[in-house]
């Protein structure tokens, strides 16, 4: 794709979860389908993409983070990348806020922002019948899209376009409650405590009796699904990325 000499509109940064995690791969494919549908030309780095370094950095391993970041920046600059979309808020945050200090300056957006743009410009249209209209949905703000970057409205605009029945959790937006995966927690056992963080969050979500918990982050999706499993609710409540909900309704 890179060899074709075309300048794509946007680079889709797939991320480790989007590349390797079976559940997140579905989100990756969903976004690709939507982009094709909307006629957006995009490229991926494929095997030249590396982890952005977010988990290494938050674990404290700055050396490893900077090595990964430096290599990624070399690749991105080599291809003259200007605009990047990610499905992962951690990749989004790192590329947007932390790469500039190392020489990587790009316009970075999260896929919920891109989808909002495509809807408002009319490149995407939600179908009249048979979508998710009136489905009872609760939305989970991820920490890295929400608090870290203040993106609260774009995901909600998508839910509005889908005409779902949105029921907010008590802790939402700035006061959103973590799923438990950030800060490299995804890769280690919890410290001793009385409860898992994802279970606490899922209990809160279940108070709203949703049919769907909508999320915007591959790690949140894993955590919320695990939490539902722990509450024996995996059959009754589904966890979807917003792109998947859009794709179902095109």
């Amino acid at each position: 794709m890179q060899a074709e000499g075309q300048a794509p509109e946007i680079l889709f940064w797939v991320g480790c979860a989007g590349s390797f995690d079976a559940r997140a791969q579905k989100v990756t494919r969903a976004l690709c389908e939507i982009l094709h549908h909307a006629g957006v030309s995009f490229a991926i780095l494929g095997q030249e993409e590396r982890c952005t370094g977010d988990p290494a950095r938050r674990a404290g391993n700055e050396l490893l983070f900077q090595m990964l970041a430096t290599m990624n920046i070399e690749t991105l600059n080599l291809y003259g990348v200007r605009k990047i979309v990610t499905t992962c808020p951690h990749c989004f945050n790192t590329l947007k806020n932390e790469y500039p200090a190392l020489g990587g300056h790009y316009e970075v957006i999260h896929h919920t922002q891109l989808l909002q743009e495509l809807l408002s410009s009319g490149k995407l249209r939600i179908k009249e019948e048979g979508g998710l209209k009136n489905t009872r949905v609760t939305y989970h703000d991820s920490c890295y899209l929400g608090r870290a970057n203040g993106v609260y409205e774009a995901p909600r605009a998508l839910l509005e376009a889908l005409e779902v029945e949105l029921v907010e959790m008590k802790r939402s937006r700035k006061n959103g409650f973590c799923c438990g995966a950030g800060g490299a927690q995804m890769w280690k056992e919890d410290e001793p405590g009385d409860k898992r963080i994802n279970v606490e969050r899922v209990e809160e979500a279940l108070e709203n009796q949703p049919q769907i918990i909508a999320a915007n982050c591959p790690f949140c999706i894993t955590m919320l699904q695990d939490g539902l499993k722990a509450k024996d609710k995996s059959e009754d409540v589904l966890v979807y990325d917003l792109s998947e909900m859009i794709l179902q309704s095109l």
């Binding site: 990964l68 806020n97 490299a184």
Partner: protein, 436 residues
């Protein structure tokens, strides 16, 4: 004359003690590393005005915010009266401003009286919230002992202060009606006039003068004690919340501090840069293990913390029973700065080769550091822009980069990142998802 002399000596003593206290805090803050100053001043003034003066972030929860506002505004406006008390104390005059300001004086004193009543209500509510309602965030493990007593001392001190003001004003009011010198007319006072006529009007003039003097001295001595006590108390936040807010970093919440010293290492490792010919072979300390490796901003924030625990109350790790409490992290930085400061002041240690065999890790365990999900909830919650998460991350950096320690669970992650450029060690290529 005797009172003037007494006042001057108490004032001198207070200033002496206070100077030592505040100098110690100043020095302890300067144990940290200077931080490069970034961002524009306008935005910093905006933060200070909105967040510190305007208490913007307090109003996320309006009921405690309202009570806090009563005490805060009473505190600010009482400073006006304090100026007069200082002038009266030094010159031996009584209510120096009253003849000059006339009706405006009556207005100001009435304003103070009404705010004092509101502050009294707030203080009683705050005492009840802590001691009777036992709001959970005030009863976390780090609040045992001194922090718990400290909070109550201040609230009780506030009650004493308000008691002093009303004792002084109501006796003064009765004395004014009797035309006793030097009790100049202040105009009718909303609260103390009622107090005076109800409780004091039958008393003899000499006794009333005694009561008035008692109230006056109680008021000013409580203020002086506050001034000396503040540098040892969490209540120092009433002063340091302002500079702490002003100096708070302006970068996005998701952006960790850049480490240029690591960048050099990385570029040399990757062959992008040549090492300097006579570069020191000893590696610098990466991250933070003590107040010396934190920034001055961090220590200033630790001194500006009033231990309200809003951070801990929203911390997902703490809520689910983990040992981590962001407030405790901030308190530990202050405690360690105090300890280091003490050792330096006593001459036991010197700044050049400070080594008391201890560090921040004696206050904060790896278990606490590892429980953080970096969710920024604590940062969002702090009404005065303190960032406990940054301290945690600086200590994680020290653990991994300088000590080569850290949770063993993270080793496979680091290995996968290093060898595969991915967060998991996968045998299939990164774009295999395209084929399924």
């Amino acid at each position: 004359m005797l009172q003037q002399l007494l006042f001057l000596s108490v004032l001198g003593l207070t200033l002496g003690i206070a100077y030592r206290g505040y100098r110690r805090v100043w020095q302890n803050i300067h144990l940290g590393k200077p931080e490069p100053f970034e961002g524009n001043r306008l935005e910093r003034w905006r933060n200070t005005l909105l967040v510190a003066f305007g208490q913007q972030k307090m109003f996320k929860n309006w009921l405690p915010a309202l009570f806090h506002l009563f005490i805060y505004v009473a505190f600010l406006i009482t400073q006006v009266e304090l100026i007069e008390i200082l002038i009266d104390g030094i010159t031996g005059k009584h209510r120096f401003f009253a003849p000059y300001l006339g009706g405006f004086y009556t207005f100001v004193i009435n304003f103070i009286e009404i705010l004092s009543v509101l502050a009294l209500v707030a203080t009683v509510v705050f005492l009840a919230r802590r001691n009777l309602l036992k709001v959970p965030r005030f009863w976390k493990p780090e609040m045992r002992g001194w922090p718990f007593r400290d909070a109550n001392y201040i609230l009780i001190g506030e009650i004493v202060l308000i008691f002093g003001i009303f004792t002084m004003n109501s006796a003064d009011g009765v004395l004014q009606t009797r035309g006793v010198d030097p009790y100049v007319p202040t105009g009718p006072l909303a609260i103390s006039q009622w107090l005076g006529t109800t409780f004091l009007s039958t008393l003899d003039t000499p006794l009333l003068i005694g009561i008035e003097r008692f109230g006056w001295w109680l008021h000013i001595l409580t203020v002086f004690s506050f001034l000396c006590y503040l540098p040892y108390s969490k209540h120092l936040h009433i002063l340091l919340a302002f500079p702490s807010t002003w100096y708070a970093p302006l970068r996005p919440k998701g952006q960790m501090t850049h480490m240029p010293e690591v960048q050099r290492e990385v570029r040399i490792l990757m062959g992008l840069e040549q090492p300097e010919a006579n570069a020191p072979t000893e590696l610098p300390v990466f991250g933070a293990n003590d107040v010396f490796s934190l920034s001055r901003g961090h220590i200033l924030q630790a001194y500006a913390c009033t231990e309200c625990g809003r951070c801990t109350a929203v911390c997902p790790a703490n809520i689910t029973g983990k040992k981590l409490s962001p407030r405790k992290i901030v308190m530990a930085v202050r405690d360690r700065a105090e300890e280091v400061g003490m050792n330096l002041a006593s001459g036991k240690q010197h700044l050049q080769n400070y080594n008391d065999g201890k560090s921040l890790f004696d206050y904060i365990s790896p278990e606490e550091l590892h429980a953080c999900t970096t969710c920024n909830a604590c940062v969002e919650a702090c009404p005065v822009l303190i960032n406990p998460m940054e301290i945690i991350l600086q200590m994680r950096r020290y653990e991994i980069l300088t000590q080569g320690a850290g949770p063993s669970d993270w080793l496979p992650l680091f290995n996968a990142l290093e060898n595969n450029g991915a967060a998991w060690a996968m045998s299939e290529p990164r774009d295999a998802w395209r084929k399924n």
